[in-house]
């Protein structure tokens, strides 16, 4: 009965809120910490595979399935306890985990690990991963690389064979046509898979932290994340975010968008117009016009959701739950639900139906 009443009240609140502001998704967040089975509260990455949820934490790889946690560590063959990145081969179900000490493949419980000493992996610190066909693309602290899982061949990408000025690659997104590398301090690199040609996108302001040429190029050189979907490239940096459609750039800054912060750890495009931004001050959702932010309040830690409309008007939405922490590191989708990696726990955002 209590649950029914709570749902009714929540629906009323949601309906009231939505009547006044743009319709943005509202979630009830269920949070996981070490207290309820999470391997570690510091969650670097989250990945959904159907009913299963993988998390990369500072102290192991976690699998949440049937409401139970299974934890994999170095004793199971994991390359390192700190798991920074995750990617799924959706054809085979194999999970790739990038760690602080190498790259691991988890295949039906068996873990095989590749390091810079025992394989062609360019560096043991694996920040980003992407699976494309038979290739696993890897972003490491010493350049990018590609493992062809059929031939076992490693191909390295660095300052010797690409326009990469710095070799600290932070994220990678690969498709059969294009591969994008987010390079910390060296913009975005694009590989045309058909021609083998590399292109580079830089901040037209150089390394200047002032934005002199807004919407004329990449927002900043310290790029943390790339997401290529529907031929749109979404880019996250430590100084704002960018959207590039192949011809035009659109940049997002906290001061002129609904971003809660310019410091973005990860951006994930849903399609050409919708994207999620994982920042140091909350989780943001952009629907092409309006913005929503989900976080514990920066003032008092209470659950908070705000919606910013096209005019810049910001409305508070009454919510009773929020992500586990406002330092957001990752997100993935499970139907209409979201799973969120934060610096102090994992959050399952259960989408609430609104009228």
């Amino acid at each position: 009965m209590k649950k029914l009443l709570l749902c009714f009240l929540m629906s009323m609140l949601v309906s009231a809120a939505m009547a006044a502001v743009p319709k943005m998704p509202i979630f009830r967040f269920e949070n996981f910490t070490v207290a309820n089975g999470l391997p570690d509260n510091h969650v670097y990455a989250v990945l959904v595979d159907g009913d299963r949820v993988w998390v990369g934490t500072e102290n192991g790889l976690g699998l949440y399935e049937n409401k139970h946690w299974k934890v994999y560590g170095t004793a199971d063959g994991l390359a390192h306890r700190a798991v920074l990145s995750l990617a799924l081969d959706r054809r085979t179900g194999d999970l790739w985990a990038g760690t602080m000490g190498g790259l691991s493949r988890v295949s039906a419980g068996r873990i095989d690990s590749y390091t810079q000493l025992n394989s062609g992996l360019s560096n043991d610190v694996v920040y980003g991963l992407s699976v494309e066909g038979d290739n696993v693309w890897v972003a490491t602290a010493a350049g990018g690389c590609r493992l062809n899982t059929r031939t076992g061949k490693w191909t390295l990408y660095n300052d010797r064979n690409t326009p990469m000025n710095e070799i600290w690659t932070y994220n990678v997104m690969a498709t059969p046509e294009k591969v994008y590398y987010a390079v910390w301090g060296s913009g975005v690199l694009e590989l045309n898979q058909k021609t083998g040609r590399w292109d580079k996108y830089d901040d037209p302001d150089g390394e200047n932290e002032m934005v002199l040429f807004k919407d004329q190029g990449l927002i900043h050189e310290i790029v943390t994340s790339v997401s290529y979907v529907d031929k749109i490239l979404w880019i996250g940096t430590y100084m704002g975010d960018s959207r590039y459609d192949g011809r035009y750039w659109h940049n997002f800054l906290m001061k002129d968008s609904g971003l809660p912060s310019d410091f973005t750890n990860l951006v994930k495009g849903v399609d050409a117009t919708h994207a999620w931004f994982c920042t140091d001050k909350g989780l943001a959702y952009y629907d092409g016009v309006n913005w929503a932010v989900y976080r514990p309040s920066l003032k008092d830690g209470r659950p908070e959701m705000t919606v910013r409309d096209v005019t810049g008007k910001v409305t508070q939405i009454a919510v009773t739950t929020a992500p586990a922490h406002n330092y957001i590191l990752g997100i993935d989708f499970q139907g209409e639900d979201i799973w969120v990696a934060t610096a102090k726990g994992l959050s399952h955002g259960i989408r609430l139906r609104t009228k």
Binding site: D94, A108, G109, N118, S119, G120, T151, K153
Partner: protein, 654 residues
């Protein structure tokens, strides 16, 4: 034909046999040469090659031994398909009489075949061509060949006939193919050396085994697995661990799927080989699993087949009778089929809940019979009613038909092929037989699976635990790489295979001079498999070319000359990649009697991890990233990671 010409043909044939080896003989023949040979001898070549792709299926080389390895019935049980590894063909026999109906060339070194659910197509892997041949069973001819992965071995078809699963031994994975077009849909990670598979009768599971142990840490107990695939989702759903196992062969499921059995070797490579006399080097075992064990989900029990003073070497093929009362296992090194009474076995298992894998007294309780069959029995097949067991005798070119009621061989079908036994063939029989070792425990093939290697390190010396650990080296194409042994102490193969093997391995002196000569002949003839990293046109990829330049370089990245003896190409010179001398390259351990090691040949080096004399390097990379801190094993510490990767790409082509 003149007498001189006949003599020339005979001599040429013998020379070819001696210097090419059996697989190479099959491999080196093309359709054209076979046809010429057929014309010369007046025989008829059976060249049912695909019209679309005639060069892709090799002709049946008429002089080749058949070497049957696998068996299948046609759906009505009237025909017996016999997969012949050396002659590269499927021989079709009348299952009752053994009368030869047809010979179909399918490609080089076929290792597995499977029938479509309707029985209209027979899919055959040719492991040296990296292809699957599709045989129309009505026309009895190859109608297509499809390019697949590296060294395809086992093959299975799903229940709907829409998907094929192919185990690739070199890439250690299972390819999922569209059964209509042969196009590959995906690869699934399997165990190292993925080879044999069986589909559950209800199509719910595909079980895959692998012949080399999965990579693990240095000097740790070997581990293997049965990879279980859901054929519907084409995903690996489970990996059933096989602890202490290396060398896993056929796996079988009962018709109801409740009882499974897998044949394998249980090596004890962490103790000195001197312990042969203690019965302590190889266990010949099977693992039974499934709900019929009555021990809960996922339970599996390793079951020894050996006896206290008699071994049943190299369990390979397995079959479960339709009524689940018997398990049949071929012991390829002992030339017998072991019959296990399942009821008694289950009773024994329940009475010994702690396991009994190393109890050599156990088998007396559940082994019902040993049936002597032909030489090197491999695949087995039960008739649908379970009354007859067919056994492929690889080195006899025969199929034994066993009456399962009496456990006796009723009939023996002779396959087409040469009827005289050459010295080479005799040598091959010796290689694959365990009869020459103490109590018939082991044969050469125990460590050199299919004449290759086993992926293990061994303690071969009788001087205590952990002294003189050595990695098992590949036997392919070694005839010009003397001396032998890691310390280079054996000047020729005769010494390597003779006294040294008999004394240290077999703990017996059973070879006579002729037998040793035959064995030496065979070992000298073992060819190298096709190298999968070389481009077909003989050219190199840019990375391989860069790696080759590093291999032969004389100046390091700092512009300093590299001492001649510290260049890769100095020791690893010549066509085999060895100067046949010993060097101290800084890899010796305190436990090694000497730091001097024979320069190993580089033949198919990509396949043979682990590396270095003691197998301490788990990968080619580790040879230099871990075990070459002072540049004594070549000047490499100036290399960038890119360059090291290039060097390795080149080495893989050797």
């Amino acid at each position: 034909m003149s007498r001189q010409l006949s003599a020339s043909i005979v001599i040429a044939t013998v020379l070819l046999a001696v210097f090419a080896g059996p697989d190479m003989r099959a491999a080196s023949r093309t359709a054209k040469s076979a046809t010429q040979a057929a014309q010369a001898t007046g025989s008829v070549a059976s060249t049912d090659a695909s019209q679309d792709d005639p060069d892709e299926v090799r002709a049946v080389p008429l002089e080749q031994y058949a070497s049957p390895v696998e068996l299948l019935f046609s759906p009505d049980g009237a025909w017996l398909y016999v997969l012949c590894q050396e002659s590269g063909e499927v021989q079709v026999l009348d299952a009752s009489s053994g009368r030869m109906l047809k010979r179909i060339a399918v490609g080089r070194v076929p290792r597995g075949f499977a029938l479509s659910p309707r029985g209209d197509k027979l899919y055959v892997t040719s492991s040296w061509d990296d292809r699957v041949a599709v045989v129309d069973t009505r026309l009895l001819r190859v109608i297509a060949t499809w390019r697949v992965g590296a060294e395809p071995t086992g093959i299975a078809v799903d229940r709907t006939g829409t998907r094929l699963f192919v185990a690739n031994r070199i890439s250690s994975d299972v390819a999922v193919l569209d059964a209509k077009t042969g196009s590959e849909l995906r690869r699934l990670v399997a165990g190292r050396g993925a080879s044999y598979m069986t589909m559950a009768a209800d199509g719910s599971r595909l079980l895959v085994t692998h012949v080399y142990p999965n990579p693990r840490g240095y000097r740790t107990v070997p581990e293997s697995e049965i990879t279980i695939i859901d054929p519907q989702t084409t995903r690996v759903v489970e990996r059933m661990p096989l602890h202490s196992i290396a060398g896993t062969f056929h796996v079988a499921l009962s018709t109801d799927g409740r009882l499974g059995v897998v044949a394998h070797l249980h090596p004890k490579n962490l103790v000195p080989l001197a312990h042969v006399e203690h019965g302590w080097i190889f266990g010949d075992t099977i693992t039974v699993f499934g709900p019929d064990l009555g021990m809960g989900p996922g339970s599996a029990v390793e079951v020894p087949l050996d006896e206290l003073d008699r071994y049943f070497s190299y369990p390979f093929g397995v079959a479960i009778s339709p009524d689940k009362r018997r398990i049949y296992i071929t012991n390829a090194g002992s030339d017998v089929v072991t019959v296990v009474d399942v009821r008694r076995l289950l009773a024994y298992i329940h009475a010994h809940p702690g396991g009994f894998a190393e109890n050599l007294g156990a088998s007396a309780y559940y082994v019902e019979a040993h049936i002597a069959v032909g030489a090197n029995p491999r695949g087995v097949l039960l008739s649908r009613d379970g009354r007859r067991l067919y056994v492929a005798n690889r080195l006899d070119d025969t199929v034994s038909v066993v009456n399962t009621a009496s456990n006796r061989v009723d009939k023996t079908f002779a396959l087409d092929g040469p009827k005289t036994i050459s010295a080479l063939r005799k040598g091959e029989r010796i290689f694959y037989s365990a009869r020459y070792s103490f109590q018939g425990q082991i044969g050469c093939t125990n460590c050199h699976i299919d004449s290759t290697f086993d992926g293990l390190t061994w303690d071969l010396e009788p001087d205590g635990f952990g002294i003189g650990i050595v990695d098992n080296r590949l036997l392919e194409d070694i005839r010009n790489t003397a001396p032998y042994k890691w310390n280079g102490s054996n000047p020729n193969i005769q010494t390597e295979c003779g006294v040294r093997t008999e004394r240290y391995f077999w703990r017996s002196q059973n070879y006579n001079d002729r037998q040793l000569a035959d064995l030496t002949l065979y070992v000298r003839s073992i060819p190298a498999r096709p190298n999968r990293w070389r481009l077909p046109n003989g050219q190199m990829t840019p990375a391989q070319e860069r790696g080759r330049a590093l291999f032969v370089r004389s100046v390091d990245n700092f512009g300093k000359p590299i001492a001649v003896k510290n260049r890769c190409v100095y020791c690893h010179s010549g066509p085999m990649g060895t100067d046949q001398k010993s060097f101290d390259v800084g890899t010796g351990k305190k436990t090694d009697p000497s730091g001097l090691f024979d320069t190993p040949q580089l033949t198919n080096i990509a396949l043979t991890a682990p590396y270095l004399h003691d197998g301490s390097a788990r990968s080619l990379e580790e040879i230099w990233t871990v075990y070459n801190p002072e540049d004594r094993h070549g000047r490499t510490n100036d290399l960038t990671k890119d360059e090291l990767n290039d060097l390795i790409e080149y080495l893989k082509t050797r």
